[in-house]
């Protein structure tokens, strides 16, 4: 039910992003999602790839600090109110959203939301009770390259 996401520490300076991007491109990793959180001094690059273990060891060999996080991906209809419904389900539970971002799958007309919860397992349980089913990794990468 959980999807592995890799996070990289980046300095906030020109060119910081291109090095990991080039490394991943050369090794032909297909990046499914990508987002950047940034402050004035540093940034965190977060992305989901199918073969995350390989991507991780490649980046670590190159001297990056890599963190692996459990994300929960939820499919929503690409229409107003999709996100609100998920958040509503989590209201009055101790589960906290640390951050989230949305993306769409090309050609499928579906919206996907990637959540980092304070407690992913608890979140999954709450959501399933409300009839919201997180997407499995396999489904997520169906049709996508390595």
């Amino acid at each position: 039910m959980k999807v592995k996401q890799l996070s990289l520490f980046l300095e906030n300076k020109p060119g910081a992003l291109s090095r990991p991007a080039n490394l991943l491109a050369k090794a032909k990793f297909n990046i499914l999602t990508l987002s950047i959180a940034d402050t004035q001094r540093f940034g965190i690059l977060r992305f989901i790839v199918s073969e995350w273990e390989k991507a991780r060891s490649l980046l670590e060999r190159e001297g990056f600090v890599v963190n692996v996080t459990d994300m929960v991906a939820i499919e929503v209809a690409d229409e107003p109110g999709g996100l609100a419904k998920v958040l509503e389900a989590l209201e009055k539970t101790p589960v906290n959203v640390e951050y989230m971002y949305g993306f769409t799958l090309r050609g499928e007309g579906k919206g996907l939301l990637a959540f980092r919860f304070s407690d992913p397992d608890a979140a999954i349980e709450v959501l399933r009770k409300k009839g919201i089913n997180p997407v499995r990794s396999v489904e997520l990468f169906k049709g996508a390259g390595p």
Partner: protein, 443 residues
């Protein structure tokens, strides 16, 4: 406007009399005091007594000033190893003041004063201020920090004893410093030279031209500076800038001070006996030759320092000064024999920064200290390489880490530092050893 110029002032300040002792009498006085202080240290300081015994020496072996060279050195690490009170030679009942200065680790070093020590300190600070032509009637803005740092109170006591009007404004708050300087008709200021440059700069921005104020004298110390900084200060503010030298371990400010000839600080030799040694071999250097300054306190009761290694590199000269003082002079402190650096007048050792980082996270071994000067104020940035152990995926966690590291440095060193996390393997390493300090300040 034409400012007051101490060189034109022919008044001789009576407190300066000991500065002009004929040499035979000065040497006699030094020897007399040296014998007494060695006896006192041997009687009362266990570490010194042990070192004397190890050499098979007794205080009776000191019969001439040259015999001083046979005595053991005292190092900064001795103060650390005996922290806090291990080198005191007076019982607490007789100690009226404690100050502290940077140690090489997380702990500071502590120095003590008896009532008489405070009088000696007051006397040498008084003679320092008199040496650059200040006297009663002057209004002195004392912008050295008050507190554990010896700068503030040292200058304060001397200025009061001089009969001058003291403004104990302490450090910081530049706008208020400028307001007071202008509104109170300040004639002299004590602060670090870089802070004074900052005052000039901020003043011109706020429409206060120090050139047009009554301020005529600056007593600058607590950090290294250069002749070109002196010229800049004098040109831009119309004052005369004097170099004062001191260190807490010896007494604080007032160990040495320039006279109106501005030809290098005269050491108040009746209280502080100077030697210059090769910092590697410990061998004495000839007159005028550069080496490490070693000082012996000749009149300090609470904490006698015998042959204290200052780690300051300078040269000593017995060449007569035009002012007629018989006190020898040192050159400007050019550099250090260790890795200490000075930020805004505060001594900092890289090992202190390391201790501060380690106290927060045991896993941050790679750091670099970058020193810059922004608008004449020192800025210390500590760059720390991120490790997997501390990288927590959220921005908040990293920001909290930076904040915690910054606080720990501030607590240890007494200085704010900008902590900046950087990618691993990005900091310079030379010969396998990290280059800890990158000093990009232009002086």
């Amino acid at each position: 406007m034409t400012k007051y110029d101490a060189r034109q002032n022919r008044r001789f300040h009576p407190v300066s009399a000991p500065d002009f002792l004929p040499l035979p009498q000065l040497r006699d006085l030094q020897l007399q005091r040296l014998k007494a202080i060695v006896q006192r240290a041997d009687d009362r300081v266990a570490l010194f007594r042990k070192r004397m015994a190890d050499r098979g020496m007794t205080p009776q072996d000191v019969q001439t000033l040259e015999d001083l060279a046979k005595l053991p050195f005292t190092e900064k690490s001795d103060l650390r190893d005996t922290y806090p009170f291990g080198l005191f030679a007076s019982p607490m009942e007789e100690i009226v003041r404690l100050h502290a200065s940077s140690g090489t680790t997380g702990k500071p070093i502590v120095v003590a004063y008896t009532r008489q020590d405070v009088q000696v300190w007051t006397n040498v600070m008084l003679r320092s201020l008199a040496a650059c032509g200040l006297h009663e009637g002057d209004i002195i803005q004392n912008a050295y920090g008050y507190g554990l740092f010896t700068g503030g109170l040292g200058a304060h006591y001397g200025a009061e004893a001089l009969g001058a009007t003291v403004i104990p404004i302490s450090g910081g708050n530049t706008q208020r410093q400028l307001m007071v300087m202008k509104d109170f008709g300040v004639t002299a200021i004590c602060c670090t030279p870089s802070y004074f440059l900052h005052l000039i700069d901020q003043g011109s921005e706020a429409g206060v031209s120090i050139k047009d104020l009554p301020l005529h004298t600056g007593v600058f110390g607590a950090e290294p500076w250069t002749e070109s900084m002196r010229r800049r200060i004098e040109q831009d503010s119309g004052i005369r800038a004097y170099d004062i030298y001191g260190l807490s371990e010896i007494i604080g400010p007032g160990v040495a001070m320039e006279c109106v000839c501005q030809a290098g600080p005269h050491i108040f030799e009746d209280y502080f006996y100077p030697e210059i040694i090769d910092s590697k071999t410990g061998a004495p250097c000839a007159d005028g030759q550069e080496g490490e300054l070693v000082l012996t306190t000749l009149g300090k009761q609470a904490m006698p320092m015998i042959r204290y290694r200052t780690r300051d590199i300078t040269a000593l000269t017995a060449q007569p000064c035009e002012c007629g003082r018989t006190l020898r002079r040192i050159k400007r402190i050019s550099r250090r024999a260790d890795d200490m650096f000075i930020v805004r007048g505060i001594n900092v050792f890289p090992s202190q920064i390391e201790a501060a980082l380690l106290s927060v996270e045991g896993t941050l071994p790679h750091y670099q200290i970058v020193l810059t000067r922004e608008r004449d104020l020192d800025v210390m940035e500590v760059q720390v390489e991120v490790t997997p152990e501390v990288f927590g995926d959220t921005v908040g966690a990293l920001e909290r880490l930076e904040e915690k590291l910054g606080k720990s440095i501030e607590t240890t060193v007494g200085l704010r530092a900008n902590v900046c996390l950087v990618q691993p393997r990005t900091l310079q390493r030379s010969e396998g050893k990290a280059k800890r300090v990158l000093d990009q300040r232009k002086m």
